[in-house]
Assembly symmetry: D2
């Protein structure tokens, strides 16, 4: 057992940290101007990242990435997560990171050429269309969107929302029922749908927590009304949509957890700074209050705990594969989300009225990261998954001492 | 001991509930258009409220109000609080309600004529300027704003923020140090400052949780740079600013708590509706989940508990005055805020992704009511107040059995 | 709405409080010697209580009690609950109080003569045999104990545990299946079984949290092996066992809650005393710590909240009957138990090592009141009951605003 | 970074686990008979442990131990902690383990010969006398016990309690003020006091949570009334008592945390077993309840988190020494205690009434491990320690990003 990061990481992480602080964080204030206004500056930072060898950390070197293991990417991702713009700067932002993974593993050569290559270069963006407003996201096999083969085309009808970053995306990977008569988990397939397809409508960016957002920083609602794409746009085997989605969501969840650790540390630093500097009366700072000390100590303990759980899950994936880590992934999903929201809440409270304002990044985290307990499976589902696996194993193995 | 509302309330409350549901709630969707766009419709509802005898519930009948006791107003306020527009519709919205109280009790005849009368008629709005960005709000005696008597004028210099609803207000009641050499609690006074005074600057509406808002639905930052008002604009005795502010904050806090109970019930109803109707799979609703049942049961218990505490505090004020209820007021401040935020959080979680959107009122409450644990004294201060009073009483009375 | 106790209670409660402090609490230290050793002193106190008109508060005056309403008894019960011996001193201890109620409402004249009269006089004690080790208490219809009519006798076979105070009791009211073919809720009946019946075995007093106890202060395990009692020992109608048990448990639960409030106040007083007197360094007491202040403030708020909920439930029973209060009773059961255990825990923590010792009453409460979240229906069952009633009402009434 | 145990541990741990299950756990039921009755069987198991090379895991091989690192001992200690008798069986029980460490590091040759050697062989036991009833344990420099040099003897006067296992111990290491005029942290020294010294009185075993216990399973109160021991019984340098105590407490705390992990796993196994086997109705087990699933999932997450934090702290001690790990040790102290108590509480609740009985080990843990949040520094002190270190570091380093 060894808790020290590898020499490679000991070199990389401080360099990355400096990059983020120097080049990425200063752009945060521009977020209020909207994504489109900020994009040129972000593009500039991306160029600088590429030149510094800080591009696509999770992608194999053969495809132009840094070729990091899941564990290594976890450490990188925490550094990036400290700012809402960190992952975008290195080209590993959701939902593109997951889509890159899907195309790398399951894309045909022409699909890679048409859809993947520009994505890897950061010239396009993409989206993933799964969630539907009419059905509970916690029951993924319950889909209304349909795709029918008509000649050598798929014709799609359906309604999706929370299609992250579809505004301005080049294409959407759409989950659609292609085989309604098959067994429940074999009904759906993934289909690549360019956003300029006739019958594809980007209805709106959904107003979320007071902001509709735009571009990469938004979540869209879309309608497919007879959208027609070539039959060759099927991604992976027909009827394997759920299997692929599951394979995509596993690492997706761990990526979220890694990013959340960065948010935890950012919020923690804000809490400590405030405690150390805010005077309650001349010469007496907030950090002398025992309650604030309790917040600091609990936050430190909980963040460290979450980080170790997340890194252990990443290490398990690297050694034994995604399947062996499934229980761990569910655990870190609800545990880390919970820790993050509590750290943000304490940091906000420590800031008093200022914490409510958009003058500090905490209010951004407070609003937008509330979704962490919901997306990619609500807490309640992940807890049930963990318990059922444990109870199942217990039934197989018999009792305990 | 009797937990039944009086016959008067048993007649009034259902009538009020119907008014709110029929005339006020439908305007909520217009909030996205901003206060100024919504104002004509709100004015229309206010007219209707006046005609229905539902105007200024907390103001004595002699001044055109309904003359309710604090306990009665508590019950009314819960009904109004179910919508962010409820109190405005009846003219009892913060910060005007508190300012009306100040002017009724401490205003000179000319002050009442100039400032109070249009307020009571709903023709103007007002603001209250206490909090300063440079100093902790939990230490109210630490103020930088100064007012100096120059001839028969007060000349004010200072910087305030979280001056609620100053955007479009006719005047601000400003807390300013007038006697810097006096004892700490006797340094400040209240001064009526019309917003069209030269040297009064409304710097901005502060972006809070993603929204700067406007008009009554905003919190402003103001600067006073040599603003000059007549000496007669002093409200109450010189050097009594803190005493008056304290007297204003006491009922202000209980008014907040009453309003929060309305939010609790609104969020609870949303939780129950969602549980009863959202299908997780065909024929199976969310409310069959034991975790959701736990949320419902806990929320019901906690809301009922908070309501009884709030009504008891109101009853104590009616019978024994504000001073006798001080410990109770601190208790309901932190207890009710905590209950409210937990009920909102559970209701939001039950809504899944939809709960994050501005399509439901929960996300509005989630963001804007987070301040409940901060304004009018953070939780931490109120808890300390309660404990110190209890420990003080114990020291006076000697030990317990 | 009126939160003031009636003049009658304003006279009674201080008198009762003095009685408990003067005559009952001093006996607590004797609990370590065991119930049998303590009984003579307890009998002495009971005599004194009778002479002071403080006997059987919940029993109608016609039967020699004080004839208090449920609400009034709630207030009395809180005073008594401050010591583990309080209810015993006034003859209203569990499980006898519940059995008295059963016999008063459903006992035949001969049953009253034989079983009830000595109970009311405090000359005997009784027990109630429902829970079985083999079956989940949360599923009361699942019983193994059988009673068969053989001639004019009932012959009982079965196994019970947590038969409170059976050690030394004169009789047990046994729940037994008499009609195994009937509908599930109509299978069981209540049968009065004297403990000197052949075939009745008191197996042991169950060691609970380190103490088997004895006499009234114990929970027994019993076996019925062909115990034969007259057919006339059937209590209430045949097949109505569950209905009677339910009717018995309702007030039983509220009596527990009332008693718990007394424990809350006792623990709270211990917390405040410790905070006010324990020096952490010369001249500096524990109560200066903000964390301890937070415990005090939260405990005060939560106890007050629990008390108001309990008294409101009692008031509802008085006015509208037990059925109308069912949801409220479930709410106070889990809410008050939770508050009590948290208050005890904080008080214990404030006492440091001393809190772990049997030198203070807190460790007694910590151990024995942990059962509050389990007996008479675990928290989880009561929460589900509340939620299902709310969801059921919502389905009947349609949606909310 | 590597989360896999070393090959050495992969061999040792299953062997140890089998030893504990086969030879130690069966003795648990005998605990009700008391330590003295159980001792012969325990001695027998100890012999077997020695023969199996499982003796004194934390002691260097040169002194007859297994020579494990702190990290390795952590893993061993978790296995042992699953039963209250585990550490005793391998000779590494508190308080002897800490005393062994003190004597190994600071004992003179004669002290080692007289006191240490029989301890290592398991022929004697020892105690550590620090806590005094009159003074807060959280302020260790506030001691009343005095030792004065009189000729070549120390003469001791004082009063101690929570002197763990002093009943039957051969000697006590007593913390006493030897230099009352020195700086606060240099006033006390450690003195070896044989329990057969005249003037040494073992007053009683303190009744704790319903049990006074006896022998190794007890906590004593002692008085020193002119107890006279040779001057050579001073352990370590004069005036260095606090420094030594601190050095003793650091590893002592981590040993507790490791042991608690064993308790966590034992309670978790009990929770899972109960969930998997307890029928609520025929064919339906407790584990189908979502609430119970939540308990299982949360417990699994929290135990894993605590274990990783504890092992990381051990690893830090092995690599960088105790000082570098001080913040981590405080963190695991409050974090692990909290996790343990919550896991025990959930497991107990899942057992219903049975969980309250001494028929299951849970009620033992519930009572006796409540002290975990108190001894070796209450939670509140450790949280403050962590926060002050973080705030101190922040002041030295300047602000954060």
């Amino acid at each position: 057992m060894d808790f020290a990061p590898s020499p490679k990481m000991q070199e990389l992480l401080p360099r990355l940290r400096a990059f983020v602080q120097t080049h990425v964080m200063p752009l945060e204030r521009g977020m209020a101007r909207g994504f489109w206004a900020l994009q040129p500056e972000l593009d500039h930072v991306r160029e600088r990242a590429k030149q510094s060898g800080l591009w696509l950390p999770q992608v194999p070197a053969a495809h132009g990435g840094m070729g990091l293991s899941v564990l290594e990417h976890g450490m990188v991702s925490e550094v990036l997560g400290a700012t809402p713009l960190g992952h975008y700067a290195l080209g590993c932002q959701a939902p593109d990171a997951g889509n890159i993974e899907l195309l790398l593993e399951h894309g045909s050569e022409p699909q890679r050429e048409q859809f993947l290559r520009p994505l890897l270069q950061g010239r396009t963006r993409s989206a993933f269309g799964m969630t539907e407003p009419e059905h509970a996201g916690s029951n993924p096999v319950w889909l209304s969107t349909r795709a029918q083969l008509d000649g050598d085309s798929w014709v799609l009808h359906g309604h999706k929302w929370f299609t992250t970053a579809v505004d301005g995306a080049a294409f959407v990977i759409v989950m659609a029922v292609t085989d309604p008569e098959a067994a429940p988990h074999q009904r759906a397939s993934m289909i690549l749908v360019p956003t300029d397809t006739a019958g594809f409508e980007h209805v709106r960016n959904i107003p979320i927590m007071g902001e509709a957002g735009e571009g990469w920083m938004s979540h869209g609602e879309i309608r497919l009304d007879g959208a027609r794409v070539p039959a060759s746009n099927l991604l992976g085997p027909r009827g394997r949509g759920f299997a692929l989605a599951q394979a995509r969501l596993g690492p997706g969840r761990i990526h979220h957890c890694m990013r959340w650790l960065g948010i935890c540390e950012r919020a923690f630093a804000a809490l400590v700074d405030r405690a150390a500097t805010r005077e309650l009366s001349p010469g007496h700072v907030l950090g002398e209050q025992q309650t604030v000390q309790t917040w600091i100590a609990d936050a430190r303990a909980e963040i460290d705990a979450a980080r170790l759980l997340v890194l252990r899950a990443a290490w398990t994936i690297d050694r034994e594969g995604l399947d062996a880590a499934r229980e761990q992934i569910s655990i870190i999903k609800f545990f880390t989300a919970d820790v993050m929201l509590r750290v943000i809440d304490r940091a906000l409270q420590a800031h008093g009225a200022a914490g409510m304002t958009d003058d500090v990044v905490l209010s951004h985290f407070y609003r937008h990261e509330r979704g962490a307990r919901i997306y990619d499976g609500p807490d309640e589902v992940h807890r049930a998954v963990v318990a059922k696996r444990i109870l199942g194993a217990r039934r197989r193995d018999g009792g305990s001492p």
